[in-house]
Symmetry: D2
Subunit: 399 residues, 4 copies
């Protein structure tokens, strides 16, 4: 019953097989959509391949600016990390892909969308919840949950049988990888043993701390209203800014992560990540908030953050609860404007200075020196006495 | 009306002046109490000095084991950090001091306790709320909030006038410092400018990453029920274990922190901290939890942590709300047993492996390879469909 | 492949059809299990009917005491209400049924369990998540999601074709109902229009406030450690106590509820409930906590309650996160011991007195009269000043 | 050093004494400010009395509309209740008074503000934190914390000595009361015994349920964007609407409350409240949200509500954390538009219907009848299976 389907197409083997399989299986037309979100691959080969394999129409969009500006930065305003560690590099790209798939489906009159994510992972959830939220009547086809090509051998056999070109490079990675402007991720292979340390050769974006320069690099990041806008005084648009930080961070071995995380579908999985620019931004943003945000607002954000992170991780970017939280988060960022200085050195990203016109750090009050009466120490007595009152009553009455 | 007071006595200038001042001002007897919580100073000089200055009785207690076992470790079970960064090294020592002060007051029949914390900081709150919670009828004397010796000059003049020995070392630190087995802290001096980077010479416990060994060090930390019990297979009691990690971490430049934090009394202040062993433990504990804790339990802990951290930071260790949260936290740690391997290198502390008899990481299910039916990919469709249902209805009905 | 299945059997038409259908469809033996959880029906007819319809074995268990003691009361310790209104009468019975089904399956060597809940509601989730949590290898059969008997007509036709007795009473309720010692619920019929008021005849347990006695009734409920133990001085075991309160509350028109709630499966549904005893207990328990619980502990409980309620509502009773929260909740109840006096009158349940040996209400301090120095009003100045400090600094620096 | 002070003046004995005492004690000019927030007293006598007692200037402001529109309604958008019961009638009026005091101080060039709240209660905190937040340099004078007129006798003596008129009515209430458009409160007297039931004569606004009409009254409340705008089809401005609901609710005995609450200053206190209109609004608003709000948004609001309530109760209306939460709350109210029908009868306020153009209640999906495929019951299997997955793995691996 499907007439036309929009396929999120990477140009790789899996989605190429899907492109063919959809035409076969559903007797439908396939429109491919390939997004440049900074994964660092040339996309023109994908166009040719899609055309070759019978795509009715081919969309290739440069979404890098939008990705960083409207997805990565809003998420970073919340200092978002999932389970204390993960910067959500994969999660944050999915809602944008879902949105464009649904938009293209409307443009080309498609009645379905399809993707190449497996039935075990989080990405299927993120794609599909996003798609359903934006178009409740869209149909989603997830071939990995439907077909019987459930091994590499069968996939290759299908590809050969259907003249799908297979790139056989010598150095095929043993890992399942995903990359965009925010990060690159690795799963599978020896990582399936949580006791196994990944070999150095796995990491692609960052120099090993051991090989990083012996000289530290100092950088100043300027923020306006919660978002980074300039590095070392040079204003940069979002995508270029993040790319520049990726370069700097990568050089200095910053942003490697090796964790076991809890997937939304109910299992634990091991993942390794490189997020050089994001790791720097997270440190810097929190440091700027430390002088510009009120204590209770900062604490409120800290308590809400894990929930916001789960919402993004689980694929609910296009949900009303994410929007409600975002409204709160954005409101707190009005005065998060200023500069943070960081030192990058062999894997370390250290905050060494922060300043802001909006700073709430009042040295006249905080000083260890004579404060000329700015703070009356005697006030502390009543403060403590009343804060302790309930505890004193309890000790007396409940012992 | 005070007859006898127990003074938390460090042996330094400030508390020596207080020892004298209390006798003068209140015409009372002073019993001193000096705790060894791993601050790394000899305490016998404090005894002699206290006796010399007229202390009626002198208590010197080695509280190191108790400190780490009953305060540091329970707090670490919650992965506690204040405002995303601070490991609460100073905060966690205060409730123990308060408890011993109150106990000694009961032993010696004192009607008051006194301390040398200023009226601007958090420590006065922590000491006093602790004391009031444990003995609601105790009187607290906080000389810094009462006297007029509010400058270094006046303090020195008072000391000279009362024959209080003043140690004049050449290398007197320009910083206000506090140390115990968990950390050493620095405040004041140039740190009062949040844009100023502290000079390298400030740091006392850790080698600069730049000077740390070129060879990484791998260590295995064994945990039982949430607490670390052995390093590289060698069982160690709590204090020795933490001390050993301080040595290892310090050598490799691990655990430096430079932040602006929000004090309970309402101001922002800059602090620098070295917490080498604690920083390692935090990483290791979280990594072990990542394979042994249920997802929802881990998330619950993450959402409660900021509140727990504020409770400790603000001095409410001896409160019923801390106890209630601790009960939950401790209950979750029953199966947090296993080993974490870490790599220490020039300021970096990286998890490279984790294993446990209680591991919930099930490679048969998580695998990218054929899972022999352990997981049915088709289940994901219904999972996604029902999770998306409310969003689809909303899009249809509210647009 | 199913050899023997344990069916949660009510004796009604639906589960009788299922009893037959399972034998037909799966060619398996069926063991029936009927629980008395206070639904107020005779169970012996269910036994005869099950035997008649070919049940291999029939279990009928009186679980009333266990239900109230181990499920209802622990939940009430948290003052649990879902979405601000619903006392979870249906939700809280399901984990007990699931537990017994799994136990019986083990006893009789069954490889599956089956239930009569539909694929639209919450109960399927509660049964099945409970069953899976307690026996991860159990198979669950949910006929309503499998068969094609998806209308009342088809069901009746199947019943006739298979000699299943159909009770044709004149006054068949137009509502879907569920009852146990905690409540009776109504769904469907005219309730599917949220603007329609249910007719008076729908309500079965409670007198209409308009018809309730003109004389108020006062009762005293005694609690020990968070649980009710006596009414008007008479000690009662859990089930009898709740039954007695149902009678009293029902007489006085207490505990009717008419709401639209959010189901876990993603839709909104209208439900009406009568929970006379539970409504009284909730009021009483909170009132006792108001004098025996510390403020911060009470607030912590209030903030965690919605999450606990969702856990129970969604069917996660047998989850580690429910257990962790329960540990905290139970710890807070140690001193929730005392008596609450309530006035029942035409739908109103009003607290008019509360007393406890463990009361933290200290009239010497709270009094408007002279407190003889128990509270020093001057302390409030410092308390306010320091609590306002951050706001003053912000106004000065951020305007 | 105080030249001119703005006094929150009620016209009663206490603030009249303060008006005189301030002139005596501080040798300063006093400007009085009396707000009409619906307390139901004539204010012109206050003007004459103030002039008589030497007020330099007299401000009398009708703040009723502003009070309900900008304080009560925003708070009700959050379904705010403190400690599960209290509708915050006193708390919500204080920030408005504080704001006007600070504004008038600026207008008349006053350097201080003064109020008649005691040093034991919450109101001093609310007034002063509000004042400091809006003008960090204002000075606050709280005579009750300063003077020695700490008994009724001394106060009367002072009044006589200074020709302050004392109204001696026969029926002086034994309670300390506070009233505004939202509520009237009672404290003190026999209420200081939490076991004592208040006598019927205490209640001033509501008919006793026993004396309320035998006929129920049905009303329809129309909301727009979260705020009530019309009753029974008649549009009313905020103050008139709340006043009308007070009348209706009062007639039908609705909104009495008798609780023990936890004050911010650390003690428990007994309070009785009548909040007829507010109690109706709370029920109605929640009912409308039940059909117009997304589940996760509603749950988020429920979890944040206790914190919001504490913020208001503790006097932090003018804080950045209240503003941040308000932003979130207001954002959720965009589509909370519709009508709720309620039945008022002898103390009961029951929701009997709710409808909205923005309703998310989809009867086609929720129906017990044939849904024509709107919901696919089979989806529930996968939903349950994956939600149960972590529990199954845990049972297998951790037992």
């Amino acid at each position: 019953m499907v007439k036309r389907v929009v396929l999120a197409y990477s140009g790789g083997l899996d989605t190429s097989v899907i492109l063919k399989w959809l035409q076969d299986q559903y007797q439908c037309e396939v429109v491919t959509f390939t997004a440049d979100i900074g994964q660092g691959e040339e996309l023109e080969p994908a166009r040719r391949k899609a055309e070759q394999l019978g795509a009715r129409e081919v969309f290739i969009d440069d979404l890098r600016q939008e990705f960083v500006r409207d997805y990565v930065f809003p998420m970073f305003r919340a200092n978002t990390v999932y389970e204390g560690e993960y910067l959500l590099g994969t999660s944050i790209a999915r809602p944008l892909i879902a949105k464009r798939m649904v938009e293209i489906a409307a443009e080309v009159g498609a009645d379905a969308v399809a993707h190449g994510a497996t039935g075990k992972g989080n990405d299927q959830v993120r794609f599909e919840i996003g798609a359903y939220a934006l178009n409740p009547d869209i149909r989603v086809i997830a071939p990995w949950r439907e077909w019987d090509l459930n091994s590499r051998e069968k996939l290759l056999a299908y590809a050969e049988a259907h003249q799908i070109p297979i790139e056989r490079h010598g150095n095929k990675s043993p890992y399942s990888m995903d990359a965009n402007l925010l990060h690159i991720s690795y799963e599978g292979g020896i990582l399936e043993d949580p006791w196994a340390e990944p070999e150095e050769s796995m990491w692609r974006w960052t120099t090993a701390p051991e090989k990083a320069p012996d000289q530290p690099r100092y950088i100043d990041i300027q923020f306006a209203h919660g978002d980074p806008v300039a590095i070392d005084g040079e204003a940069l648009p979002p995508a270029a800014l993040l790319a520049h930080l990726n370069t700097l961070g990568g050089e200095h071995g910053i942003g490697r992560l090796d964790i076991v995380e809890n997937r939304y579908v109910g299992m634990k999985s091991r993942g390794c990540y490189e997020t050089p620019g994001g790791s720097i931004l997270l440190k810097a943003h929190r440091a700027l908030e430390s002088i510009t945000l009120d204590r209770e607002v900062a604490h409120l954000k800290d308590e809400l953050m894990p929930r916001y992170a789960s919402i993004v991780y689980n694929g609910y970017w296009w949900s009303p609860e994410r929007r409600a939280l975002q409204t709160l988060i954005d409101q707190t960022q009005r005065l998060v404007t200023g500069v943070v200085r960081l030192k990058l050195y062999k894997g370390n990203c250290t905050v060494v200075g922060r300043r802001s016109e909006e700073s709430l750090f009042d040295p006249r009050i905080a000083t260890f020196e004579d404060d000329a009466g700015a703070y009356r120490q005697q006030d502390a007595e009543g403060f403590i006495k009343l804060n302790a009152l309930r505890l004193r009553i309890e000790k007396r009455l409940q012992g």
